[in-house]
């Protein structure tokens, strides 16, 4: 029960033993009450808060090591000595605090994300018993797909399964324009069955949760959506028209969906509507079709003590439903509600999710930077320890125990890390906004809230980092023997760890350099991709999503503009990563081909080159012959023959559509550059037109756009926003994964290089100080400044050179083995990226070292040799 959790154990540990029985009993009883009221997650969180609030003198037991007075006294003494020591070597302390702060800011960000993400879906009272059925499918040897969806017919078997209390059937994409008598608004939602409201804890403000989603054509709205549609008027009981599906009656109003829900929607239609729509052929059949496992969802509410194994066995047995297709293998399994986000990378998610792997990647990044800063601390502490050996010796002679000296050192490191925490928090606040900009959905998805748990985790994290940084020097230095220290400190082999310290510096700079090079290479790939000749003209083209409006009306209205040079229609925008493919057959050959539904002037509008034949002719409505224009590659793949021979030939799709080739177009890049060019055809099919491609030449773009928008409002009736975007910008956006990578890796590079150079700075200062006498004597003997600078910096420069060589080799390996083979069209690796990276690193490193070497070499020998 609760006493086995971390907080439970913590409470047992801190609580006075004579009152523990009463208090833990009470807490546990409250926990059970709360679990029935709010669900296990909430109850546990209340329990944890209760434990935190137990931290008060009347409950916490007194430390039994010493009496209160000695402990206080020792505490004061430790902190006083620690602060004095930190102040004595100010430069080192500042380096340590800044280095730790920079790295800890990333750690804080990760902690914040983890805490935020684990709070997802915790408001469902029965969340610990809710599971989702997920699907793994293998088709031929195309690799496995992992899907969040599962077929609806599966629900029937699950409903009859003892141990499952309820099954919720869902289908996504209930995204339509909803119209009342007065207004029409686009809205997004799902289809859900009547169990939805009893299994999930979304609260109905109005309406009956048992029946609201029962009857076909029922609709419930989230309160914000209801307000938009009806203002303050009564919504329940009203009828609205939903897209092409006719009248729905509103049966309930939901409280707005909490931000930390993995499903987001403005409205829900009753699932019982689906069979009717499917029977009318308005939707493809999913409710009775085992082979459609990509549209619908099954969520389960299990009984209290249900054995998951039984259900999983049952789900596995369902794989036999697919025996008839020997190319297809399908497996079902369970995923608990808590595992949805952060969770596996599944396709067809019902809403935005955060992959656990991303969190792991961020954590690793944070760990690397934090370890790097801790290395600095360790490195510098050991380096400056020579000055403190006498102190340790005297402490030991006076009766100081080893553990007290360890505590003394840890006090210093913890005070440093707590100081760094404040700075880290400020840095985190500054980079947080940048971080959220990486992806658009992150902003609504992640909230950086500061609650008790977050703050407590931050402090715990700082303590952990402090101990991590300080533990090595503490153990190492406290082990020295007082007799040998006090007799002759020069004989102590304190620097036996010198090899390790050099290795650490090399490692830090290697990592920094790898980051720098990766960022420059990513930048080069991005430039390459956006400037690549895709084989078609995209300048001056403005793409406008039709959003359900009639394409002919659109053409008629916009043709009036003199700025409009030409206009074409297409189903999607090529070159951005959206693909639509289908198996096509010619004679004995069949192949998976990409396609685009487009109008006749798509080809001239985009400057595509026809090798043979013509573009689609203008046709009367009602003509139903399917005409296509293929690319050269498809001709080759299907063995149709030369471009001229191919004209008038018929190709058949796997759905049985017969299509006549009327033209052949030169190959162009319809997909993103990381994917190779394959077979492709353009198909004249007006029903599928979703985008207008406007070629615009205007001397005053701003006013043209304003006029366009006005015309749009006339066509659309102010339901949808005018979403025009220039093709060039869309291409930039399509390759934004590069810009994101450049941002993240570039940031990591800045972190790594600043931490590494601060470590190097500390080492250079130390080495200059210890050699001050040697420098003085050499100067007296006639050495000049340049000799001395090279003497002081050579060792470090060698380390930098080693780091540069390792980093270059490692990055070349990473790119050639892992990254570049994944991309079909890429910029080759040139020496420039490496030179830039190495140059930056050497410049920063040399500057750091030489500044210190120069300072030491300039000191007058009379100063350095005067005192002994």
């Amino acid at each position: 029960m609760t006493e086995r959790t971390f907080f439970g154990k913590l409470f047992r540990w801190i609580c006075k033993p004579d009152i523990y029985e009463e208090l833990e009993g009470d807490l546990q009883e409250s926990y059970r009450l709360n679990r029935e009221r709010f669900g296990a997650n909430k109850a546990r969180s209340i329990y944890n808060k209760e434990v935190v609030k137990m931290m008060r003198p009347s409950v916490v037991k007194k430390p039994k090591i010493r009496t209160q007075i000695t402990t206080n006294y020792m505490f004061k003494s430790y902190s006083k000595t620690a602060i004095r020591n930190l102040l004595r070597s100010r430069l080192f302390s500042v380096i340590n605090i800044i280095g730790l702060a920079i790295s800890m800011s990333v750690g804080l960000l990760v902690i914040n994300i983890i805490i935020d993400q684990t709070s997802f879906d915790n408001f469902h009272t029965r969340g610990d018993r809710i599971y989702r059925v997920i699907t793994e499918s293998h088709y031929m040897d195309f690799g496995a797909s992992y899907l969040a969806t599962s077929p609806t017919p599966l629900a029937e078997g699950l409903e009859n399964f003892s141990g499952i209390e309820r099954v919720v059937k869902l289908r996504r994409y209930f995204n339509f324009d909803v119209a009342t008598d007065e207004r029409k608004l686009p809205m997004e939602g799902h289809y859900a069955d009547e169990n939805f409201l009893s299994v999930f804890s979304f609260k109905l403000q109005q309406g009956n949760p048992e029946t609201a989603l029962k009857k076909p054509f029922s609709l419930i709205l989230a309160s914000k959506a209801a307000k938009k549609l009806f203002g303050d008027g009564e919504a329940v009981g009203q009828n609205v028209t939903v897209g092409p599906y006719g009248e729905f009656s509103i049966t309930g109003i939901l409280e707005d969906i909490p931000r930390n829900s993995h499903m987001q929607f403005e409205m829900l239609a009753s699932f019982s509507t689906l069979p009717i729509l499917e029977a009318q052929d308005k939707l493809h059949k999913t409710t009775t079709n085992w082979f459609d496992y990509t549209s619908n969802y099954n969520y389960l509410l299990l009984n209290e003590d249900m054995d998951l194994g039984d259900i999983e066995n049952f789900l596995l047995s369902q794989s036999s439903r697919y025996d008839e297709d020997e190319n297809l293998r399908v497996f079902f399994s369970l995923q608990s509600l808590a595992e949805i986000t952060p969770g596996l990378d599944l396709s067809n998610q019902i809403g935005p999710t955060f992959e656990s792997s991303v969190i792991v990647a961020f954590s690793i990044l944070a760990a690397v930077v934090i370890l790097s800063a801790c290395f600095n601390y360790t490195n510098l502490s050991i380096a400056k320890a020579l000055r403190r050996l006498k102190e340790i010796g005297v402490r030991k002679v006076m009766g100081g125990k080893r553990h007290q000296i360890v505590i003394q050192f840890l006090f210093e490191s913890v005070i440093t890390s707590l100081g760094a925490l404040l700075l880290a928090f400020i840095i985190m606040k500054a980079i947080q906004g940048q971080f959220l900009e990486i992806t658009r959905d992150l902003t609504q998805f992640l909230a950086f809230e500061l609650n008790l748990l977050v703050v407590a985790s931050f402090v715990a994290f700082a303590l952990f980092v402090g101990i991590l940084a300080g533990i090595l020097p503490a153990i190492y230095l406290s082990a020295t023997k007082p007799a040998s220290i006090l007799r002759d400190e020069t004989k102590i082999k304190i620097f036996s760890g010198i090899g390790i310290r050099k290795a650490l510096i090399v490692l830090q700079f290697t990592i920094s350099l790898i980051f720098i090079i990766v960022a420059t290479v990513a930048n080069k790939q991005f430039r390459f991709a956006i400037n690549y000749d895709l084989g078609f003209d995209r300048q001056h083209i403005l793409n406008v999503p039709l959003q359900g409006n009639n394409y002919q009306t659109f053409i008629n209205e916009y043709s009036k503009f003199p700025e409009l040079e030409s206009i074409s229609m297409s189903s999607h925008i090529v070159g951005l990563g959206t693909r639509n493919n289908i198996w096509v057959k010619f004679g004995a050959d069949s192949v998976l081909s990409d396609r685009l539904f487009a109008s006749g002037n798509f080809i001239p509008n985009h400057g595509l080159q026809l090798i043979a034949g013509r573009t689609f002719p203008e046709r009367e409505p009602g003509e139903s012959e399917h005409l296509i224009i293929v690319n050269e590659k498809l001709l080759k793949q299907l063995n149709i023959g030369s471009p001229l021979e191919s004209l008038e030939k018929i190709i058949t799709t796997s759905r049985g559509t017969e299509m006549k080739i009327v033209g052949v177009v030169k190959d162009f890049h319809y997909a993103k550059l990381n994917q190779p060019l394959e077979g492709f055809y353009l198909h004249y099919y007006p029903d599928a037109f979703r985008q207008a491609n406007l070629k615009v030449r205007s001397s005053d773009m701003a006013s043209t756009m304003a006029a366009f928008e006005k015309t749009w409002e006339g066509i659309d009736g102010k339901v949808h926003d005018f979403e025009a975007e220039f093709y060039d910008n869309q291409i930039d956006e399509a390759y934004s994964s590069y810009t994101k990578a450049i941002k993240v890796i570039g940031f990591a590079a800045v972190l790594a290089i600043s931490i590494a150079s601060m470590g190097l700075l500390g080492m250079a200062v130390y080495s200059a100080e210890t050699k001050i006498k040697e420098v003085g004597i050499r100067k007296v003997m006639g050495a000049d400044v340049s000799n001395l600078v090279s003497l002081l910096s050579m060792g470090f420069l060698k380390l930098l050179a080693i780091a540069a060589v390792i980093a270059v080799v490692v990055t070349i390996l990473i790119f050639q083995q892992l990254v570049l083979p994944e991309m079909a069209y890429k910029a080759p690796l040139g020496p420039m990226e490496f030179l830039i990276g190495v140059g930056i690193m050497l410049a920063i490193g040399t500057l750091t070292i030489c500044s210190q070497a120069l300072r030491a070499a300039r000191v007058s020998p009379s100063e350095s040799l005067r005192s002994e």
């Binding site: 029960m1 609760t2 006493e3 009152i19 029985e21 009463e22 208090l23 833990e24 009993g25 009470d26 807490l27 546990q28 009883e29 409250s30 059970r32 009450l33 808060k49 209760e50 609030k53 137990m54 931290m55 008060r56 009347s58 409950v59």
Partner: protein
């Protein structure tokens, strides 16, 4: 005198113990005060108050039966002592005295 002073929260706790009668133990007191004051009260804060009251000899406690919900731990029941009763009476008298001396005029003038 500090030893017999009754803070406002302590007064509420004492009264709640009286209200609950035979069934006054940690969880029931916590819940009752939570419901009446309309906000959650932490068990830790309640413990501090109970411990102080017990130290002043206003209440006494004894262990009751163990139950499964509590992981086999016993409940600790609280009840008032004579001292507690006197302290409550004292507090009540003080308040009533003050109330009765508030002039009607100055009460009604506050608007």
């Amino acid at each position: 005198m500090k030893g017999t002073h009754l803070g406002e929260f302590q007064e509420i706790v004492l009264l709640t113990v009286l209200v609950l009668g035979e069934n006054a133990y940690g969880v029931s007191i916590q819940e009752e005060i939570g419901v009446r004051m309309g906000r959650a009260l932490s068990r830790g804060a309640l413990h501090a108050a109970l411990a102080r009251l017990e130290k002043k000899n206003f209440i006494q406690s004894e262990f009751g039966g163990a139950t499964k919900e509590r992981g086999g731990r016993r409940k600790k029941y609280y009840k008032l002592t004579i001292g507690g009763k006197q302290a409550l009476e004292e507090a009540k008298r003080l308040r009533e005295g003050l109330w009765s001396d508030v002039p009607q005029v100055s009460w009604q003038n506050i608007k």
